[in-house]
Every structure is written in C-alpha cells, then in structure tokens.
Amino acid sequence: MNLLMVFKVALRALLRNKMRSFLTLLGIIIGVSAVIAMVAIGQGAQKRVEDTFSSMGSNLIIVRSGSHGAGGARGGVGSRLTLTWTDLEAIQTELSSVQVAAPVLQTRAQLLSELDNWNTQVLGTSPEYFLIRSWSMASGSVFTQADVEGATQTAVLGQTVVDELFGANYDPVGQAIRINNVPFLVTGVLEEKGQSQWGEDFDDVVLVPYSTYRARISGGLQQYIPGSIFVAATDPDDTSRTELELTQLLRERHSIAELAEEDFSVHNLTEMAEAQQEGTRTFTMLLASIAAVSLLVGGIGIMNIMLVSVTERTREIGLRMAVGARPTDILAQFLVESLTLSIVGGLLGVAIGISAAHLLSKQYGWSLYIPPDIVIIAVLFSALVGVLFGLYPARKAAKLDPIEALRYE
C-alpha cells in the first residue's frame, strides 16, 4: 500500500468526522499559534532593544551624578548633583580612551512657531553630542562650538517637532521659533529616527547649545552639571577600559576614599543592552514554554481522539487485516491520520499565530519579528507531537488480533 493511498484513507477517515477532527485540530492550532505569536512578539521586543542600542552607538558610556546603589535612604542616580563642568573638561582632555564627551541637560518646554505650538523635550548639549549619537541631519546643520561659546539662540529640531510646528514636508531652516518664549533660530533638522525602545520619540526633541540652555531655559548652579555626561569611547570593543579610566579619574577628582562608594555612576550601554535583552529573552522563553505546554495539551487531544477512533473502528481494522493489511499498514494508516491532524493544525496555527501577532502589534504598537525558522520549527514540532501521541493508538490498532477485531461489537 503506497503512501498516497495511506494518505487518502487517512483523509477520508478524518473527513468522516468533520466536527471531531476540527475540534482535535483546534488543540494544535491554539498551541502552535500561541507559540508563534509569543515568539514573534518576544523576538520583536528583543530586536527593538537591539536596534535601539545599536542606534545609540555601541561605544556610548553615560556618566551621571549620584551613586549606583538604588537602596533606601542613600538616594539614587541623579538625586544630588556631583558632576562639575571641570569634571567634563578633565574627561575631555585627560583621557586618551575617550573620543568625545558632551553634557546632556534636559527639560520639557513649550515651543511656538508662527503657526502652532508644541510641548516637547529640550536638550542642552554640545555639537559632540550628534557625533556620539551618530545622528545626521535631514537639512541645515548642527550648531557649532562657536554657538556654544557665544550662547547663541540656535536650535536643531527633530522631525516630529517640525511636523507639529510647521506641518509635514516643510523645511524650517532659517525660521524662528520660541522656546519658553525665547526666540531661537532653526539651524537644522534631524533625520527621522522613529520610535525607540521605551516608546520615547527621538524625533520629538529640540537641541540647543548647553550654554544657551543654562542662560535662557534652565539655569541651576554654576559649578555643577544639572544632567549627565555622554561619552564616546575611542575603541568600541574596549569600552570597559574607558569606564575604568572614567571611574578612576572621577574618584580622584571627587576625593573618594579607597573603599568608599562613588558619588557618580558610569553606565556602559552595551551592558545595559545585554541586561535588557536578557530580560526579554527570559520573558520570551517563559511565554514560549507556556505556549508549548498548550501544544502538548493539543497532542493529548490527538491521542485521545485517535484512541476513540481505534476502538470505534476495531471491526474495520479486523476486516482490513483479513483482506491483507499488514500490521505496518494499519500502523501507517493511524499514524498518518494523527500526523495529518497535527501538520494541518500546525500550518493553520502558524497562519493564525502570525495574523494574531500582527493584530496585537497593530493594536498595542509592539514591534514584531517572526524568525523564518520558527515557522519550520513549529510545524516540525507539531508533526513530532502528532507522531509521539499518535504512536500509541496506532500501535494499539496494529497489534489487534484480526479474529477478535472482526468479532468486536
């Protein structure tokens, strides 16, 4: 009996009990689609983290005021200002492993154009910041070191800000805007970057020279930097050396005793990315294993229905044996039946899982990534489930004694 014939017989048997076959399918469909959707969403999250961090630059190190420890009364990162402008200068000039460093001061402010107004994030920084983030311009140019020194009222806008203040497809370079009612000249527009990992919009930002920021937008103490320092390491593969040097330098400058805790923190973005990814990976694994359990339950459903089917068709099996079916023919027939169920369920599950993932991502704005191999793995895995859970009923059928089977009522 050839395979095509076995398949035909199996298909007929399944179509004979359409409702039952469908319900059995459902178990596998739910399992597989859950696996696919969970993995797609999990992988999407992971990829988003990856993309965000790679867009931030792998050689980025962030130095902040305040200690590492988040514990109790000590006060966390940024709770007290400790970084000074001379610290920044020292970082820029004394460390060879530092390519560039830039201060980052930020606040929210109301923006105004001739046409519209918009509330957004204002960053006070230096031209080096654009280098560190490897951000390029869609039009115009970045403010210069001279602008910083002269504290000129110049600004670089993100695309969202342009859209909100001037409307889409408008080039505002040379136009004036007001930030907290202070007039600024637009010198450039950033290239569009899209949403980032935590839903912040890097396009919804306006950047001004830090000197202007301090003079016109948010003052603060003279000596301290009311924000953080972004540092680009010279060697992206050896950011840990840069970190070490930064730490040593600042400990010295802040006169921190040998074993005492630092009053600043140094973060390596690669480490942060890894920690983030580790988190999403664990989450994905957890989701996927829950989904896999439901696939297993689907498998048990197949086994159950196949056992019922074998019992119901005992006489048929006896007859098939009497007219010449070998035990292997019977085994193949039932195995192909459960395989058909599980593979069809697997394919439908993949389709439904992908659609469900798309639907969810549209609904909640999650990003998606469906690794091509997960589709193959899911179908293969459900086929495996079909074989594993179909084997016992099929063997039971194949082992039937033809005489007893024919006599079965």
Partner: protein, 274 residues
C-alpha cells in the same frame, strides 16, 4: 468438477485455547486435505470447532501444533505480515455479517483487497467493476451498504472475496443472516464460482445450504467425525456419525420434507434452528 492438485493439507492440527487454568481444545489433531476445485461444506454443532478451523484455514490464526500446508507452502509458523500477504493474494473471505465498510461505495469496498495488493488505481477499478458485474451488481457499484439489501451486501462481500482471484474462498455461515430465498440466490452464486473452478470451504448449519457442496465435513468436539462426498444440488443424505445428539436440548419438530429419521440431515435441520 476437476481436481488438479492439493490446495490444503492439514496434518494433526490442534488449537488450544487457554483461559486461566482451563484449556479448551477447539481443534484436536485434525488431518485432512482439500483438492483444488472442491466445494466443502463444514457442519457440526455449535462449539464443535468449525470457526476455529476456518480461522486457521484462513491464515487468521495459527495452529498450536501440527502443520498446515497451503498450496504446498507451510504457513503454520509464519509471522503476521507474511500471513497478511497470503490472505491478500491467496484467500477470500465471506462473513456472516458481511463486514462491509460503512459509508463506502460497493466499488470501493470491493477494491479494498487490491489496495493492499498494491494495484494501481485504474487496474483496481477495472477488476472491482468486473467482480461486481460477476455477482450481478454491475448497476449498484456506487451504492453504500446502507442502500443495499442483505443479499446484495453479501454479493458485494463475495465480489470482494473473489476480486484478487484467490485460490480459496472461506465462508463462515455466509447465509446465516439471510432469508431462504436470498440464501438460494447466494448459494447459486457460490455454485457458479465453484463451477468456474474456484475452491470453496463453507460453514453452515443448514442442510439445504450444505447440499450445494461436493463434500461434507462433520465436526464434533474439535474433530472431523465424518467426511463424505456429495453430488452437488442433490438431496443431502448423510450416514450417521454416532451420537451427535445435543442431550440438553429438546428436539424441535423436523420439517416434513426432510424428516429422514435417524439421518444426520434431520439432526442438521434441528441445528439450523438453534
């Protein structure tokens, strides 16, 4: 009727059933041969071992001891797969309850043995059609069993039994579920097949049915106690195999047309009613 070779040779075939501590000897040292072209009717009271014998002849079961040569091949120790192949190629079965696949057309039912014989679809179709025409159901090929009468269903079953052109047809009480007119039709069909040189072994309780055979085997307690030739389609008169009475059962009145007192025929007539 021609006999041109030994088809079946049983040599001291014994079949034991063990149920816990109790042993039942369903067959005791049965030795006999069946020639090609014979039409054998196996008779005997209930529990005498007729079905057990048929199962062994049909390669559905193996003897506990003794040898069974089918067409000069010793099949008494073959494995399940080999036996399946022999059933497929050499044997045809007709059952009392027809055993057709439900919700499956007559044609597909008849094709079933050919599927396991590995025949291509077109050939299968042709041979199944021929077999159905041969049993007079050329116009019912697409009917499902529940659309056919009992007699027609049994014809489909016979078509299925002959479709792979087997050496031997085994029928265990094929008319047991049919009325007397349909029984006559079905037996006529068997007689036709036998005239076309098909070897047939048939179990029956009815003298009228056995009367179609060319040889009668009478079984009692797992043994063949009477082996008698018979001219087909003549009234069946059997010599008395001593003491095959069923003591626990009151004798039902014999039908007037077959009350040959003291003969096995009247005894068989009684059993037909049990």
């Amino acid at each position: 009727m021609t006999t041109n070779g030994t088809l079946v040779a049983l040599d001291k075939v014994t079949r034991l059933y063990r149920m816990g501590d109790v042993e039942v000897q369903a067959l005791r040292q049965v030795s006999t041969t069946i020639q090609e072209g014979e039409f054998v009717a196996v008779m005997g009271s209930s529990g005498s071992g007729k079905s057990t014998l048929m199962n062994i002849l049909g390669c559905l079961d193996r003897p506990t001891s003794g040898r069974y040569l089918l067409w000069e091949r010793d099949v008494s120790r073959l494995g399940r797969a080999d036996l399946a192949e022999i059933r497929n190629q050499t044997l045809g079965f007709v059952f009392q309850n027809f055993n057709l696949l439900a919700r499956t057309s007559a044609l597909e039912n008849v094709e079933l043995p050919l599927i396991y014989g590995g025949l291509a679809s077109r050939k299968r179709h042709r041979r199944a059609t021929e077999a159905l025409q041969r049993v007079g159901l050329g116009d019912r090929m697409d009917h499902h069993p529940n659309q056919l009468s009992g007699g027609q269903q049994q014809r489909v079953a016979i078509a299925r039994a002959i479709v792979s052109d087997p050496r031997l047809i085994l029928a265990d009480e094929p008319t047991g579920n049919l009325d007397s007119r349909t029984t006559a039709e079905i037996m006529g069909l068997f007689a036709e097949l036998n005239q076309a040189k098909m070897t047939i072994v048939l179990v029956t309780h009815e003298v009228d049915v056995a009367a179609y055979a060319s040889r009668i085997l009478w079984m009692k307690d797992g043994q063949v106690v009477l082996d008698q030739p018979h001219t087909p389609s003549t009234p069946l008169v059997l010599s008395h195999p001593d003491g095959d009475q069923d003591p626990g059962r009151p004798e039902p009145p014999s039908p007037p047309d077959r009350s040959t007192d003291g003969s096995i025929a009247s005894l068989a007539a009684q059993q037909a009613h049990t």
